[in-house]
């Protein structure tokens, strides 16, 4: 396997999901033989400090392999500063599956980071007593250079976590197609056009999979017709995907993007599962 993310940061609070977060961070740290930065906005008392060190010890993180950064300041600013200064390649953070209506528009910490990513992000979404496994990983496909890089990372992640299945998902939408029935068109015609395009995409993905030559892991491909982000969310929910790998937004997402939802905003509103948002290099 190629070298993985390095260095890594994990932003944490002393919540019931902390053990999960440390476990995944330790695994990823080991895969890339990376330095791990643990970020906490606040003061850590003796009891919590002992808990943290115990978790790190249980997950076999050597003392020289991590650095604890604690400051009583705004969490988002602290995280961005650390990511910038230490040139973090992967930030791990926990998030609620769904925010309330008000907080969706004002933004919680995790969502604010997702909308203005300082680095690639692994957003862990699970119940406190749930054992996180990534047995089914799904990655969205686009045919650009960055898209191919994303697929390689998804494959490496699947190998690292011992996944049983990797699905490559292509979302296809051709806006305005329904209008073509307006003048002499028919439902059958638009339906068959859509099938032709889906078949073309299927062939392209099959060619891409041949080019990537992933081995040692069952790779499935799926095409869904509909809006990017929305269809990925639906697919992840229906197919019990454990980790969805998507590209990070290319530009900062603002309030207008939440009002006029598109792409990743569909995912951020209600996380279908854990999310790995990959920033292009």
């Amino acid at each position: 396997m190629k070298p993985f993310f390095s260095p890594i940061a994990a932003a944490f609070t002393f919540s019931p999901t902390l053990p999960q977060l440390i476990r995944q961070a330790a695994k990823l740290r080991e895969a890339g033989n990376a330095k791990l930065f643990l970020i906490h906005a606040g003061i850590i008392g003796e009891e919590n400090s002992a808990l943290l060190h115990e978790l790190l010890s249980v997950n076999r993180v050597p003392a020289d392999a991590y650095e604890l950064i604690c400051r009583d300041t705004d969490p988002a600013s602290l995280i961005r500063e650390v990511c910038r200064q230490k040139k973090i390649s992967l930030l791990i953070i926990g998030a609620l599956m769904k925010e309330g209506l008000f907080s969706y528009y004002t933004g919680t910490l995790a969502r604010n980071l997702m909308r203005n990513v300082p680095a690639s992000m692994l957003i862990l979404s699970c119940q406190p007593d749930e054992e996180l496994t990534f047995s089914h990983i799904c990655a969205t496909v686009d045919f650009s250079k960055e898209g191919t890089q994303l697929l390689h990372t998804a494959y490496d992640t699947a190998r690292l976590f011992g996944s049983e299945k990797l699905t490559l998902l292509r979302e296809l939408l051709v806006p305005g197609l329904a209008m073509t029935v307006h003048d002499s068109g028919s439902k059958e015609e638009t339906g068959s056009m859509r099938q032709v395009w889906e078949e073309q995409e299927r062939l392209k993905i099959n060619m891409l999979v041949k080019e990537l030559h992933f081995s040692g892991l069952p790779v499935k491909t799926a095409i869904v017709y509909g809006r990017q982000g929305y269809e990925a969310k639906k697919y992840a929910e229906e197919q019990n995907v454990d980790l969805l790998v998507v590209p990070a937004p290319k530009k900062k997402l603002r309030l207008m993007d939440r009002i006029f939802q598109h792409d990743q905003e569909y995912l951020y509103q209600e996380l279908p599962c854990s999310l790995l948002c990959l920033k292009a290099h």
Binding site: A178, W197, N206, G226, I259
Partner: protein, 564 residues
């Protein structure tokens, strides 16, 4: 005014007759591969004062204008048809498409709107009499109208054209769709404000009050209304009867919105359009529902509306050839230039920019609706109305041939059938992958001006990583190189060559594909295009059975064209 029994009979017969005639002529035009809308308008012209009314004035008057209550009822039905047409147009405006298409769509929209609008505005302001102004509405209002009339694009017509030309999904195709959506939105917004200024006498609000309320209506509908509709749609589509429940949901919302904006003095169509946008934006709205409502509106209400257009004015007595010529010239020059300029600035190549220019030039139904509403409000006279209708039809009819001309010359629309030429097809007696790759590399070197050893080395390196045999005796060794354009060559290997295909069949038809270094998606598109051929075992056998270069090339090219 009440409809009596005989009136109802008269009305029902008129409706049946209109639908029969409009749809009948529309179908004839469809068989001639022309837009149905032209047939429907032609039906109206034939039934109108110019032809039927001229030769049979008594019968014409008895049928169409003898009963005021019947005429009023027909007017109401066509008004409802008009509202529904704008409702479904709004449903197809996808704001996220506009955002996603980014710079290209934005610049194309801006220039495609501003250039014709500016020229139209100044022409309407400085030469109102020459352009047929009635003088009722004031120079500025008339000038604004001429600007809008020149800048509108008919989204449904151009969507149909793009599908027929097979470029709907392409970058230029989606740029046209996105730009036309944005222009629709801006155009109807400005036009509605024009109408509100003209109809101030009938409204209890001042112009600034109307503009503020209209703006507020747009914001509330597109922000709050959209969210509520998005939440309601899953319930409507799953719990109510399908498709009746959701169709009624859409129509009820559209009618309420139309009534609101009509009350404001803006015009009902604006409310219907904005509500359509709010409904269409929801990801929950099934594609099936969109198509159903399009079918419902365009097959029942659209023919009634368009036949009424043809009957509105006497197309012969109000035909002013000079005025028609001026409008057509202004329409072509400003719209094509503006759209192509915007597309070029957005990063499209010259040919694609011209495709966008001619695509955006389609005026179609939207222009006709604009003209009709302007006629109803006294902004324009019948001469201008006739000129606008003719302009709309001419621009819609001319789009496809011009677009096709540039599609054939555009590097964007690369297909295997266009890449392959006869000199790149050979028959070989080689028996190893290395041998055939070198032989094909020699043929390819002529086309891409690279040394054949360089080509062969790159392809062999790729072949070593993973073999390229696909199925049914086809292999596609390939590589990405520093070349400006893709190159495709083909060889028929008499004895068959082992390319380690999954079906273990030796390859007898081998394609060498070279693509530019940074064009991954282009490579995948071309590989997929060739792979489609490989799925047809029978066709591959026929190709492999040919013995002359000419025949082999013909068979391969026609096989590609079949699948493209």
């Amino acid at each position: 005014m009440q409809l009596t029994g005989p009136n109802i009979v008269h009305l029902l017969l008129l409706l049946a007759f209109f639908l029969l005639f409009a749809r009948g002529l529309g179908e004839i035009f469809r068989l001639m591969r022309q837009p149905v809308i032209i047939g429907e308008i032609t039906a109206g012209i034939l039934l109108g004062p110019a032809i039927f009314g001229y030769f049979f004035p008594g019968a014409h008057a008895a049928l169409f204008s003898s009963q005021p209550s019947v005429s009023a009822a027909m007017d109401g039905i066509t008004q409802v048809g008009l509202i529904f047409l704008l409702l479904v147009s709004g449903i197809e405006v996808d704001l996220t498409t506009i955002f996603r298409q980014g710079k290209v769509a934005l610049l194309t929209s801006v220039f495609s709107f501003l250039v014709p609008f500016s020229v139209g505005f100044f022409a309407g302001y400085w030469f109102p009499a020459s352009l047929g102004s009635t003088g009722q509405s004031g120079n500025i209002t008339f000038a604004l109208f001429v600007g809008i009339a020149l800048s509108i694009t008919a989204l449904p017509v151009v969507a149909r054209t793009l599908l027929d030309l097979g470029i709907f999904k392409s970058m230029p195709g989606q740029a046209i769709i996105a730009s036309a959506m944005l222009i629709d939105f801006i155009g109807w917004l400005v036009f509605s404000l024009i109408i509100s200024s003209v109809s101030r006498a009938q409204s209890s609000f001042s112009f600034s009050q109307t503009a503020s309320i209209a703006f507020g209506f747009v914001v509330v509908t597109l922000v709050v209304g959209r969210k509520l509709i998005h939440k309601a749609l899953p319930f409507v589509q799953s719990k109510l009867s399908f498709p009746g429940g959701v169709l009624n949901f859409i129509i009820i919302l559209g009618l309420f919105a139309a009534a609101f904006t009509e009350y404001l003095g803006i015009h009902a169509i604006f409310g219907a359009f904005i509500m359509g946008m709010a409904i269409g934006d929801s990801a929950h709205l099934r594609e099936e529902t969109r198509e159903l409502i399009q079918q419902f509106v365009t097959n029942i209400f659209a023919p009634l509306f368009f036949i009424s257009i043809g009957m509105k004015a006497n197309f012969l007595t109000h035909l002013n050839p000079a005025l028609v010529g001026v409008f057509i010239l202004l329409a072509f020059l400003t719209k094509i230039f503006g759209s192509a300029l915007g597309a070029r600035l957005g990063g499209l190549n010259k040919e694609d920019a011209m495709i966008v220019g001619f695509g955006m030039n389609s005026r179609g139904a939207m222009e006709i609706i604009l003209g009709l509403v302007a006629l109803q409000y006294g902004l324009i006279n019948e001469e201008i109305f006739v000129a606008l209708v003719i302009m709309a039809l001419v621009t819609s009819l001319s789009s496809a041939p011009f677009m096709n001309y540039f599609i054939r010359r555009s590097p964007t629309f690369l297909r295997p059938s266009l890449l392959l030429n006869q000199s790149g097809v050979l028959h070989s007696s080689e028996s190893s992958p290395e041998g055939i790759i070198r032989e094909l590399a020699r043929a390819a070197a002529h086309h891409c001006k690279l040394p054949y050893e360089h080509i062969a080395a790159a392809v062999l390196k790729r072949e070593e990583e993973f073999p390229t045999g696909i199925a049914n005796g086809v292999a596609i060794p390939h590589a990405r190189l520093k070349i400006p354009q893709p190159v495709l060559c083909a060889a028929i290997a008499r004895g068959g060559i082992n390319f380690s295909a999954p079906d273990t069949l030796p390859a007898r038809l081998i394609f060498l594909l070279l693509t530019p270094e940074n064009e991954q998606e282009m490579q995948l598109e071309l590989l997929a295009g060739i792979a489609r051929l490989a799925q047809d075992k029978e066709r591959v056998e026929i190709i492999c059975g040919t013995t002359s270069r000419h025949t082999s090339y013909q068979k391969i090219a026609s096989a590609f064209r079949l699948f493209e």
